[in-house]
Amino acid sequence: MTLKRKDLLTIRELEPEEIHQILDTADSMKEIGTREIKKVPALRGKTVINLFYEASTRTRTSFEIAGKWLSADVINIASTVSSMTKGESLLDTGKTLQAMRPDVVIIRHPVPGAPKLLADRLQAAIINAGDGAHEHPTQALLDLFTIRERLGRLEGLRVAIVGDISHSRVARSNIQAMRKTGIEVRVAGPATLLPRYPEQLGVQVTTDLEAAIADADVIMMLRIQRERQGPTLLPSLREYSRLFGLNVERLKKAKEGVLIMHPGPLNRGVEISPEVADGPYSLILDQVTNGLAIRMALLYLLTGGHPAER
């Protein structure tokens, strides 16, 4: 069994069975991170390039560590120190990299569809590490993995996603991944930050945080993406925090033991209070650890022998 594809660009294109296969592989990979010697030879001789056109700490580091634990050679390219700043187009950068024969190129880019552009033209497997407000598939996969690991299943669960839904690639990927695996999704946030066509996404929307979290098994808080918003979508962060911030008081309205997730980076005191972020039901650091397992799984699955059509 392998992924029936060369690249991982979106959750939208994945079959539910593929999602489960990635999660199962990650489940096996996770053990490597618990060893004293964290390295297996599976990707010996493979070259992985991290091509990041946007700031990132956890995703870039996570891919780098995942690649190194699998014995791949990992090269990081950040937009501030490369030819990108000299005006080279994405496609020219891609072709230049291809000439160096990488096996995998991981790309984060502010423009939706940028990974697809590379995927169509490069032989290397392309992994989307976030393209604008479009998708962030590896984040959604690690979130599903974290939920499944903790609750033992996905089917039939209820998840509330709270915050800036319309600008969030994490929300977009997660909503699709959750719908495909039988999770009921409710999204909550200010009306200006809610998706315009929720029925297309298959989610319920509300502007009432407490209604959204009332019967949820998991609450996923999102960061306010000020870099992607126009100036007028929110009156003030303080008001946002008052209406949509998750604090201990609000949490009492949710089910006992509800799990708290956040893709990071955290804006403590804005969308989530420190007591909740660091509380007993917070999975925030599990998400980071599990990100390594998911990324190891993807690097492994996408570096199989070349299928005939490739």
Partner: protein
């Protein structure tokens, strides 16, 4: 015979039945105790997936013989294979579950069939990444020959001369619902 016999047109010969497997495992367990002068510091590590079932059965027998619980771990060697990424899709990775230290232990690797020796090579590499055993021994239910690496088993349930075109299939109650070893002839 198992149900798949009907749908499989390849010629088969049964080389071990349930009783033969039981007797072989009992003998191997005694050999393990004899060679190691008891069960002190012994651990059994089965290779996914049937090697793990065999390791559990050996542990039960060692308990009957020596009254000691010999720990059993499961090793998946997929990430150590020498043919990864060469041709075709990546094989499924299963869990390595070894909840004890292998440092200074006498490790007995357990597999169902010893053939080219490549799986054993991968298992040795995988094992060494987990620690530094005092000694490593190899126990297999069937040795079918045709080694491609300088590897031999310390304990063999049954030596079976085979042709390379043949396939040896071990079936165990735990995985297959039946105990038996058959040879499939791939020449049609």
């Amino acid at each position: 015979m198992p149900a798949e016999a009907a749908m499989d047109t390849r010629k088969k010969a049964q080389i071990m039945d349930a009783t033969a497997i039981q007797r072989a495992l009992t003998r191997v367990a005694h050999e393990i105790v004899e060679k190691n002068k008891g069960t002190a510091d012994l651990v059994l590590i089965g290779l996914r997936s049937r090697g793990v079932d065999l390791a559990r059965r050996l542990s039960q027998r060692l308990k009957q013989i020596d009254g000691v619980d010999v720990p059993v771990g499961a090793l998946d060697i997929t990430l150590y294979r020498d043919d990864l990424g060469k041709a075709g899709p990546q094989p499924t990775v299963r869990k390595t579950e070894i909840h004890f230290s292998v440092d200074k232990k006498k490790v007995i690797l357990v597999d169902d069939v010893l053939y080219t020796g490549r799986t054993t090579r991968a298992a040795l590499d995988g094992l060494m990444d987990l620690g530094r055993p005092r000694v490593v021994q190899l126990a297999v239910l069937v040795d079918r020959g045709h080694r491609e690496l300088p590897i031999r088993a310390d304990y063999v349930g049954k030596n079976v001369p085979t042709a390379k075109s043949e396939q040896v299939q071990v079936m165990l109650q735990e995985e297959d619902g039946v105990d038996g070893v058959v040879i499939l002839n791939n020449t049609d």
